[in-house]
């Protein structure tokens, strides 16, 4: 493992990262500017005055915290459900042989090909008929069905890259199929699982159209629709509040993901296969 920091790579990478994250920086700066500085025709990067009134208003005058909690629950539940189901499914596609395996995999992807706009009404009708209208559960169900196809295929490709030697060795040692799966395959597939989990979390965090249609009550409303419908209307956009709300929506995620990055580092997978 490289212990020496890669100076050259850092020098190349960080400017690019800052360029990519520039809009976040800009959002941050705008959110602490007083409204009078918003649209100056000679835009300045640094604000002339700093104020936190927009954050105060978002947190106190709007149900932002409720929406935030809803989004957290929604995204976490969806991720847990999707990962559980797709990890098993991917393992099945990669290590087992049964008739119709490839067709099944392709059919799963096939559900992706129809634009979601035309699926909304029938899906909503279905959810109403089973009594789940206006609940977070309906969103979890909808988002799970969006995430499963790619989770399955992505995890399948990660697991396919794991050589079979260790599993076979474990099974020769007397472990069951599922035992080998848990002790050998899962740890090596962890980077793939983590990244799939990240994507699923983000999908559930950001989905707008379905949240708009399936959930109308504030108790179950997630951040996307909550913040957007409140702060953006045809004739008026509450810019400062929107920037503050967007920063509040983004920064916690950055912190969480920075924490999970540790599991994406090498050492988990590479060490397992020697010679």
């Amino acid at each position: 493992m490289k212990k020496r920091p890669a100076w050259l790579a850092s020098l190349i990478t960080w400017p690019i990262v800052l360029l990519i994250a520039f809009p976040l920086l800009w959002m941050l700066i705008t959110s602490v500017k007083p409204a009078a500085e918003l649209f100056s025709t000679s835009p300045t990067l640094l604000p002339k005055a700093i104020t936190f009134e927009h954050y105060a208003r978002v947190l106190q005058d709007t149900p932002f915290l409720q929406y935030f909690a809803n989004s957290m629950i929604l995204a976490t539940s969806t991720t847990v459900v999707v990962i559980s189901i797709s990890v098993l499914g991917a393992y099945s596609l990669v290590r087992f042989a049964y008739p119709g395996r490839e067709t099944l995999a392709s059919l799963v992807l096939f559900t992706y090909l129809l634009p979601s706009v035309v699926l909304i009404s029938p899906l909503y009708l279905m959810l109403v008929s089973i009594g789940l209208a206006n609940t977070l559960a309906s969103l979890v169900i909808a988002y799970t069905s969006f995430a499963l196809p790619y989770a399955l295929w992505l995890l399948r490709s990660f697991m396919a890259g794991i050589p079979q030697d260790l599993e076979s060795a474990a099974m020769v040692d007397g472990a069951s199929r599922m035992g080998a799966f848990i002790d050998v395959v899962l740890p090596q597939a962890l980077p793939g699982i983590i990244s799939t989990a990240l994507f699923t979390f983000i999908l559930a965090w950001n989905e707008y159209l379905y949240a708009l249609v399936l959930v109308n009550s504030d108790e179950a409303r997630p951040l996307t629709t909550g913040v957007m419908t409140m702060l953006i209307s045809a004739f008026n956009i509450e810019w400062s509040l929107l920037m503050a709300a967007s920063v509040l929506m983004s920064v916690p995620l950055i912190i969480i993901f920075a924490g999970f990055q540790r599991h994406l580092t090498s050492g988990f997978g590479a060490g397992g296969v020697k010679g």
Partner: protein
Amino acid sequence: MGDLMEPGRPPVLSPISRRTALGVLAGAGAALSGCGGSDNRTTLRWWSPQAAPDQLKSYKARIAAFEAANPGIRVVFEPTSDEGYPAQFAAAFAAKQLPNIVTHLPSFAAQNYYAEGLLEPVDDVINAIGATQFLDGTNDIYRTADNRHCALAIGNTAVDMLWYRKDVLQAAGIAAPPKTWDELRLACQKLQKPGLYGAALPYGMNAMTSLIFIGFIHRAGGQIFTPDLAVAIDSQPTYDALEYYRSMREFCPAGASNFSWGESLTAFVSGATATGIYGGRVLANVAAQNPAIADAISCTVYPTMSAANPAWTFNDFPCLMIPKGAPHLAETKAFAAALYQPEFYIQQLHAAPGHVLPVLKSVPADPRYQANTLIARYPAEIDLMTRTAATGHNLGQETAGHRPNLKANEIIASNAIAELVQRVVLNNEAPKPAVAATAKRLAELMRA
């Protein structure tokens, strides 16, 4: 799955202990199934796309007072969105999950839904408030073929007033705001210089361009449809309007070809243009975002092609409608009427001062209404907008003599008119074939 939870096996996600995971799942389960405190009260659901924090406050006040006076009723406000409401409504109607009361959608949405049998007539509510309490003619646009009212006005907006900078005009030697198109163009020519544009007209592929341009056609003496709703766009006024709109392109910022409401508003508010075309939102935005020019702004009715052409102002007529099939009709109507109680109605208006204008006769002179900084500061502008909006029109009913156009929503959504503007102005296409194609498209849309 059982294998994963077997004791003795190391859990897959080591940082999370099993106990906390189960705890979280239990809590999530409760939240997911939507069980909160259950209520025996009658619940009324109120939808509106106007849900900015200030407006929310005024709604909450009204709801609290109503609930206190009617202990058996609970009102829940649910924001919807100007962009997304068609999808929400389609799903709600199809699944019979209807809100009880919907406010602040444009009049042509109401006409459209009523024609499909989706709305309750609101004559009871109008009568409960008192039909004569409303500004004259303000509810006419909601009259239906069967002589009922599909909705009633909850506010007016004079959407396309000419906003101008008194200081800039004066500095260029222009004494009075322009009244005709030539005067406006001349003024823009005189005052345009690097860093200052003349106008902020939209040329984007969006609803604003369509709506604004319809106004221009009317101000040239034309119309999109005849009173009997035959397509009338292929006529001289349309060509005049196109010619004028094209000639104004050079006085608008380069980005105007992608302007929508937000950009056009901000162009004027930020001081980049000398004139703007907008509703009363300008006042609040200038006060918050560019207070330096607050004393220099004013508005007037938008210039017409010549002195002979009457003024025509666009009012989307935000309305109150009651979906058919929602439960608790009597309570709903009671709440609807309660929204107009002056004390609370004025609070709602104050949440968007100048932009949502009163529809009740008694309000403009009411000292409680006047007790708002913006309204007190710009009395002439507010008064003008209030009067102008009350006599305003939109594609749903282009003049008082027109039959209601139930396809107005679809026509705007099709971008047919915005496309006409873009083809002629941006692509320099010949007007005659473009207008003919647009007329054909409109005829198709009316037939569909």
